[in-house]
Amino acid sequence: MAEHAENAENAEHKHPTPMLYLVIFGILAVLTVSTWAIAFVDLGIFNPVIALAIACTKATLVILFFMHVRYSNKLTKITISAGFFWLMILITLSLSDYLSRNLFSR
């Protein structure tokens, strides 16, 4: 219960300022322009890798700052991580199946 109260207090004291929101917005805009510009450059296999890496960076910034997860309690953080972990299970296990189907056929 003591931790509870402490968490609530922390959340109130450490909320982001408009300046921080503006900085995050600036970074998101720069990353959007980069992902658009890089898409026209031939980097082979790294084109989709970089595009997704930038998307993940943007999503993380939105979650941590705009959605205040950086300032939220541990229960919320763990629950959100579990949700994304589950999504990764869905995607990695499905793709490891589909990508490896023709691996030993020849």
Partner: protein
């Protein structure tokens, strides 16, 4: 207000009686909202997983379909949505400070940007209608990626061959020549890309429309001065929803618009 937690007669009017304090109530509400958003993540996640599997199977068709949608409008819409996320974050900040004027301003700005997004999306959908790229035969003119009757533009088979030719002229020796028959086959297969395109952006746009409804409701309450430092949970949760929809788009933009653009000009 802070000393009134132990009495039953005097507390914040928004405090539901199963909670000890406003802080506890907000914590529970935020947690509940996140659990809801994670179910949304699972719903969109299923679509993303299916998208990835079909992209592996019909990669050339996905590239052709992706190249036929407007990267400029998609790019503009990404900036619009990120801007709306910023104004939404500012609305939450203003609600926290109890600043009614800025709450109303930021919420209206967010709604305007959301509407601009939907308008651009509508323009893109109309272009796809015009080019006969709407999957199936029920809506629109019937799917045709080979320049069927009534579709002056949108001949994807022709575009595939032209793009290949242009790439070879620009020194991309490894771009193989595509026969008219296989170009037509790839063009037909873009129907599966467009099915994903409409399902994913459609579900996303549907969430935007719901978001605009939520923002209208928040705007009315904000204008009535209901929110302040002690109680701004509805704005906070509306913000979480809006940002989540923004995150979905952050992934949709590279996955749908930027599959392979190296042989096209910006």
């Amino acid at each position: 207000m802070s000393t009134s937690q132990t009495t039953t007669t005097e507390h914040h009017p928004a405090l539901a009686h199963q909670f000890d304090s406003m802080a506890q109530q907000q914590e529970a509400s935020t947690f509940g909202m996140w659990v809801f958003l994670l179910t949304e993540l699972m719903m969109f996640g299923g679509l993303f997983a299916a998208y990835l599997i079909y992209r592996l199977k019909y990669y050339e068709a996905f590239v052709a379909g992706s190249t036929s949608i407007s990267v400029s409008w998609g790019f503009a819409n990404t900036l619009v949505l990120i801007g709306s996320s910023f104004t939404m974050a500012m609305a939450v900040w203003a609600a926290q400070k109890g600043n009614r004027k800025w709450q109303v301003r930021c919420l209206i700005l967010t709604m305007i940007l959301g509407t601009v997004f939907l308008a651009i999306k509508g323009k893109e959908y109309y272009d796809k209608y015009d080019e006969c790229h709407i999957p199936g035969a029920v809506i629109g003119k019937g799917f045709s990626a080979n320049g069927g009757p009534g579709c002056q533009t949108g001949n994807i088979a022709e575009e595939i061959r032209n793009r290949g030719e242009e790439a070879r002229q620009h020194g991309y020796k490894d771009v193989p020549e595509v026969t008219p028959e296989s170009a037509k086959q790839i063009a037909r297969q873009t129907e599966i890309f467009f099915s994903f395109y409409f399902a994913m952006t459609g579900l996303h746009a549907f969430h935007m429309i719901i978001g605009l409804g939520l923002l209208t409701w928040l705007l009315l309450r904000a204008r009535a001065g209901e929110f302040g430092p002690a109680y701004y949970t509805p704005v906070e949760l509306g913000g979480l929803y809006w940002h989540f929809v923004d995150i979905v788009w952050i992934y949709l933009f590279p996955l749908l618009y930027l599959i392979n653009r190296i042989h096209t000009k910006p």
